[in-house]
């Protein structure tokens, strides 16, 4: 049996997408009544749920409070049934901790934290297939928006990979597992500023720009979609309020 062909000669990927096409994205805001903000997103078969609490006063040790801005606290956990092999515990392992840290960095860059000194914002993400980081960021953005916390801009994230000289946007699990380079990018689309950029594989410098451009384009596409979701949500909410 010949090996898996990630990108066929005709330019199709394993799941039938072309190189720059995203997976199907569906999102909903305000899925939980108790939390200050919540959102649910599906990117292909990756499903993420985000809830936001805050801003509220610092819980626990007061010493953690920052004098000039709000503390952003992020926790990532993935359901034990979300992967092919059942996981032992949902959170607290190194991978989840790292993911939580990355989410925190991303949102510290996006949320106008200086408006809420000495307070805390909690973002909890529950997760299920490829591109977990991107799905988490997108879900959390919607949740933060739902909570009404002021942000500079949407934070839109997307991953990109590189196969046979072509940059592929929004990798699926199969493509991630093949072991090529993968780049995760969180973008503030209006200003084009990068909130987070992460890649831990080797990729030649000359290709980086193309992969980055593919990821950025995909993130801008995600922005259009999220924007549509937010507008839809606001419309529904305002109808309910009877305005």
């Amino acid at each position: 049996m010949a090996g898996l062909e990630l990108l066929s000669d005709q330019g199709y990927r394993v799941d039938g997408r072309r190189a720059g096409e995203l997976r199907k994205i569906q999102a909903r805001m305000g899925v939980f009544a108790q939390a200050d903000g919540s959102a649910y997103i599906e990117q292909g078969n990756t499903k993420a749920l985000a809830v936001v609490y805050g801003p509220h006063e610092i819980r626990g040790s007061r010493a953690r409070a920052l004098p000039d801005r709000a503390l952003v606290n992020c926790q990532y956990s993935s359901a034990t049934f979300s992967t092919g092999e059942r996981k032992r515990r949902p959170h607290g392992d190194r991978k989840s901790c790292e993911m939580g840290l990355q989410l925190r960095q991303t949102f510290e860059a996006a949320i106008l934290t200086q408006l809420h000194p000495r307070s805390q914002i909690d973002i909890y993400v529950l997760q299920a297939d490829g591109g977990t980081y991107a799905a988490c960021v997108n879900a959390a953005t919607l949740a933060v928006l739902d909570a009404g916390i002021p942000m500079r801009d949407f934070v839109c994230a997307c991953s990109a990979g590189f196969v046979d000289g072509t940059a592929l946007a929004d990798l699926s699990h199969v493509e991630e597992a093949a072991g090529g380079p993968q780049l995760a990018l969180a973008l503030l689309p209006a200003s084009g500023q990068i909130a987070l950029l992460e890649m831990d594989a080797r990729l030649h410098e000359d290709h980086l720009e193309r992969v980055l451009e593919a990821a950025a384009q995909a993130a801008r596409d995600v922005h259009t979609l999220l924007d549509r979701v937010v507008r839809q949500h606001v419309r529904e909410a305002s109808i309910l309020l009877g305005d």
């Binding site: 049996m1 010949a2 090996g3 062909e5 066929s8 000669d9 005709q10 199709y12 394993v14 799941d15 039938g16 997408r17 096409e21 997976r23 199907k24 292909g44 078969n45 092919g84 699926s172 199969v174 030649h204 000359d206």
Partner: protein
């Protein structure tokens, strides 16, 4: 808009549990259909090739047909083939990578009229697999459904034939849709292609081998081999340590009996086996073939056998020889094969008598693979007699437990060009290529008797007064498709080997000496580079690269061209092209040719001068030509005479190589194949500097420019040999020129030291070097890239190219080594049967070029031999020369100085040899039983040897300056071989012992040891 579907896959994990995986599957409304009949070409957005519009029907092969009859579908006569994606995936998953790549190449090949239709991504064509439906059924259903859609998509204007081997499908779908016919492949060939005989034969061969396979699997009696165990049992057995996994390695010399299993990492860790496992006999080997990954069961210790030590012929079968084997080693038998490594094999048909002795089963024939390690293969064919003298490629299909030999079917034979069907320029190519047959005077200059002419030249004046210089290189890549069998073979050979009396070609002779060779008076395909030069300054104004058709007008040899250049027109009679012409046209044509050669030389001089300005080196390598008479006796040894024409041709080739290097590097900055020549290490020049000092010259070796200048200055007007020797020493100090991939080096390292060019590659000899073939493909891709065309042919990625470069470099070094050894052998043979005492030829003039404590190293210009002569013989006697300057051995002592050595006898006579002194030497052969014969030199007089020969050397000396640059790097590598080993050792020592780089005591002692000539026969090669 894409539609999302989900596919559920059930996979089995290594532990044996089933795993349910959900994968996304996206469908789209528009998938390129690649048909000229498409009603909405804009929506289908075709790129790449279209099906041709002049076919009567489209044919859609079933997945099974693609798997089994791909070789027939490859026939260029079959047109309008649509491969469905479902079928391609079946090949990808169920057949090997090799067959899948073949299919991919077929789809990419623009000449072949076939396309791929991505039916599984089309929203109307995609059918989800139903519960309980078998994979095969689903694939057939999908393909049929796609065929129907395709028919309607083309607005029912083109009938579609779906070929399948599935009788049920024919029943079911045969009359379901009008315009879509479902028939068997055999039926299809019979009805649509009754005249295509080759396809029918191939089809019969495949069918027959399949039928036999089925029959045999039904017959259960007469099993030759035990059945293989099922995979689960094997895996469990390996885990538990009962079985061992490894790679089967057949002993080349005892292929019938002995094979070894090399253990693979994981399995050997628990078992305490250290050695390989012996598999004794074909029975125990149980149908595994060399290179397979097999699972072995160890036999009980009392059945262990030893490996046989005695030599034996390969033919003898399983007979036990009387020799006692060595100590018993672990012995086992194969119980299963994990991974088959079946390739396509080159085989020979048995001779007529053997066929008759196999007579009982007339249609099956046992063919013998070229590789000893592969068992004989049984194939079914009716053409055994016609294929008698051919070597064919065979693929193994199966090996049942009931059969002694594996079954196979033959695939292709080598291309043949017979006088009955002469090769012609095809009209298609004529359109694509620029036709230079009428407009340009093209001619080649090569050594006498050369068959593989790969470069030709042309020069003419353009209308605007400027000159146009053209270099036309044989278009080998037109004939050698990437990854074809010829290509793969050529890649492994990498270069043509030229030995003193024969050569081993890289390409089959049909190509190398005929179709590709740019012979005189015939139409040939070429790849040309043409420069427009300024009429006065010869500055390059424009350059054009491309494919052309040429007809070489003259096939000149160097000597004749030189005579023409010198204005000596008497050689005309030697040129066959002029023979049949009448006086007048002959005169006109001759003038034209002489003008062209003259102009070329002029241009070459200018180009050379420019390169000299940058510091190009003129180096010296001794090359000897062996002249053989009709009976293959050695007639004479002649050092190569450098002519100015040599340099002219070489300069044009360097120019072409340089421009191609620039072009491919610009187009493919990370995957171009170039050639670098790194600057030499300064310490290697010390000997050269010392020698030059003896004659009062100073050699500045800081850069190639200073080296070139100081070598030019180091010229003794009385003795031209001095300059030659100094140059050859400089040559020895050089590093090797190497091929490399531009992606793996920094740009500063691209430089070519010897030629003083920033970028260089090999482009001009594709017939005899594989690197040139690669460069040709790169250049063609670069041209099509310029024209925004799709790049055809798969180029190597940087990593593959790097690997390839390493391989070619190794092969080149091996080739040069063997060339050198062959020359040495012939030098020895030349002197072997001549009596050194009487034969005049064995006495010659020699020049001292290095001094050691007990002898001197000599160079003999007449024969191009370098060797050592002792001044002190084994009995401790030293040489002395009387007043008549004849030498004799007397007791005495030697004293060595920097530039001279003095031999003083006990009776007070003394004789001194200086560096660069001329002496008379006698050449004899020292025979050796274990090693090759070597040449032995003896000084018989300290006066130069005066014969007309010296005149010859003087005569040629002014020409020495224009020594062929083309040969420089070659001879550099040659000379470097010996040197390199030494350097490596020193560098290793630096690394291992962290030695200081300065003059340590160790190196000093080493040098002293070096100075003494040891009496080991082949120790004076440096």
């Amino acid at each position: 808009m894409l539609q999302k579907r989900e596919k559920v896959l059930l996979l089995r994990t290594f532990q044996g549990r089933t795993l349910r995986i959900v994968r996304e599957h996206y469908l789209r409304p528009c998938v390129p259909c690649h048909s000229p009949l498409c009603p909405q070409p804009a929506a289908c957005s075709h790129d790449g090739k279209l099906l041709s519009s002049d076919v009567t029907h489209y044919v859609i092969p079933d997945w099974k047909v693609v798997q089994d009859y791909l070789e027939i579908l490859e026939f260029p006569e079959l047109k309008g083939i649509i491969f469905m994606q479902t079928a391609c995936q079946a090949v990808q998953h169920q057949r090997g990578r090799r067959q899948y790549n073949k299919l991919r190449n077929l789809l990419k090949d623009a000449r072949h009229d076939c396309i791929l239709f991505a039916n599984e991504f089309q929203q109307c064509c995609y059918l989800p697999r139903e519960r309980g439906e078998s994979m095969e059924k689903w694939q057939t259903r999908s393909i049929y459904n796609a065929a129907v859609w395709y028919y309607h998509h083309c607005q029912d204007r083109m009938p579609i034939v779906m070929v399948t081997e599935d009788e049920e499908a024919i029943q079911q779908y045969g009359s379901e849709t009008e315009g879509v016919f479902v028939i068997t492949f055999k039926n299809y060939l019979d009805n649509f292609w009754p005249d295509l005989k080759a396809a029918h034969e191939l089809c019969d061969s495949i069918l027959q081998s399949r039928r036999e396979r089925e029959n045999e699997s039904q017959e259960s009696h007469g099993k030759e081999y035990p059945e293989h165990l099922p995979l689960e049992v094997l895996e469990a057995g390996i885990k538990s340590g009962r079985y061992i996994q490894g790679i089967l390695n057949v002993n080349k010399h005892r292929a019938q009996i002995e094979a070894f299993v090399r253990l693979q990492g994981a399995s050997s860790k628990d078992s305490d086996l250290v050695s390989d496992i012996l598999i004794h006999g074909m029975k125990a080997r149980n149908r595994s073939i060399h290179g397979d990954v097999v699972v072995v069961e160890l036999l009980p210790k009392n059945e262990w056998k030893g490996r046989t030590v005695a030599l034996c012929e390969n033919d003898c079968d399983d007979k036990a020889s009387g020799e006692s084997p060595s100590e018993p080693m672990p012995t086992g038998r194969v119980v299963g094969i994990l991974q088959k490594n079946w390739r396509d094999y080159v085989v020979t048909f048995p001779s007529k008598e053997e066929v008759q002795s196999q007579g009982k089963n007339a249609q099956k024939i046992l063919v013998t693979p070229w590789d000893y390690r592969i068992p004989k293969i049984r194939i079914s064919t009716q053409q055994a007699e016609t294929l008698q003298d051919f070597r064919v490629v065979v693929r193994i299909d199966s090996w049942e437990s009931t059969s002694v030999y594996p079954n196979g079917h033959f695939m292709c034979e080598m291309p043949v060009n017979t006088p009955e069907s002469p090769w012609k320029v095809s009209p298609e190519e004529e359109q694509k290529r620029k036709d230079l047959r009428k407009s340009h005077l093209v001619f080649s200059i090569d050594p006498k008797g050369c068959e593989d002419v790969d470069d030709t030249l042309s020069v003419r004046t353009l209308n605007n007064g400027n000159l146009e210089l053209g270099v036309h290189i044989a278009d080998v890549t037109h004939f050698v498709a990437p990854n074809s069998y010829i290509d793969i073979e050529a890649r492994t050979r990498a270069t043509t080997y030229y030995l003193a009396d024969r050569r081993y070609d890289m390409l089959p002779s049909v190509l190398s000496a005929d179709l590709c060779s740019l012979l005189g008076g015939v139409d040939r395909y070429a790849v040309s580079i043409m420069w427009e030069l300024d009429k006065a300054s010869y500055e390059i104004k424009k350059v054009w690269y491309g494919r052309t058709i040429i007809r070489s007008a003259y096939k000149l040899f160097y000597e004749a061209a030189q005579e023409l250049l010198d204005g000596n027109l008497s050689v005309v009679d030697d040129i066959p092209e002029f023979k049949d012409l009448d006086e007048k046209s002959r005169q006109a044509k001759l003038e034209e040719l002489v003008w062209a050669i003259g102009k070329l030389t002029d241009i070459a001089r200018h180009v050379r001068a420019k390169r000299d300005g940058c510091g190009a080196l003129e180096l010296e390598g001794v090359e000897v030509c062996v002249q053989l008479d009709d009976k293959k006796n050695i007639h004479d040894l002649i050092p190569k005479q450098p002519l100015e024409v040599h340099e002219t041709v070489a300069e044009c080739m360097i120019l072409a190589n340089h421009w191609v290097a620039k072009k491919i590097w610009e187009s493919f900055p990370h995957q171009a194949l170039l050639r670098q020549h790194p600057p030499p290490h300064q310490e290697f020049f010390s000997e050269l500097r010392e020698c030059a000092k003896a004659k009062g010259f100073f050699i500045d070796t800081r850069s190639n420019k200073t080296l070139a200048d100081s070598l030019d200055n180091a010229n003794d007007p009385h003795d031209p040999i001095v300059n030659r020797l100094l140059r050859s020493m400089a040559t020895q100090a050089m590093s090797n020129a190497l091929y490399f991939s531009t992606g793996s080096c920094a740009e500063e390292e691209f430089h070519h030291y010897g030629l003083a060019l920033d970028k260089y590659t090999h482009f001009t000899s594709p017939i005899r070097r594989y690197s040139d073939i690669v460069v040709h493909r790169l250049l063609m891709a670069a041209i099509s890239k310029d024209k925004k065309m799709e790049i055809k042919g798969n180029l190597f990625s940087n990593k593959d190219l790097e690997e390839l470069c390493r391989h070619i470099n190794n092969r080149n070094q091996a080739a040069q080594h063997s060339q050198k050894q062959s020359t040495e052998l012939f030098q020895c043979m030349y002197f072997k049967d001549k009596d050194p005492a009487t034969e005049e030829r064995c006495i010659s003039d020699g020049v001292i070029y290095s001094i050691r404590t007990n002898g001197v190293l000599l160079f003999i210009p007449r024969f191009g031999i370098k060797g050592a002569a002792y001044l002190k013989n084994k009995d401790g006697l030293v040489i002395s020369c009387g007043p008549d300057s004849c030498s004799e051995w007397k007791p005495g002592s030697l004293q060595r100085f920097q530039n001279k050595i003095t031999s003083t006898t006990t009776d007070g006579e003394s004789v001194t040899f200086h560096l660069f002194d001329h002496v008379t030497v006698r050449i004899s052969i020292q025979a050796s039983r274990c090693h090759s014969d070597t040449i032995r030199l003896e000084i018989i007089s300290n006066k130069p040897y005066k014969i007309p020969n010296t005149e010859l050397i003087h005569q040629s000396s002014p020409l020495l300056k224009s020594e062929l640059v083309k040969e420089v790097t070659k001879s550099v590598e040659e000379a470097q071989l010996a040197q390199e080993v030494k350097v490596n050792i020193i560098q290793e020592e630096y690394q291992e012992y962290r030695q200081t780089k300065g003059r340590s005591l160790y190196t000093l002692l080493e040098e002293i040891r070096d100075l003494a000539l040891l009496d080991v026969s082949n120790n004076y090669g440096i």
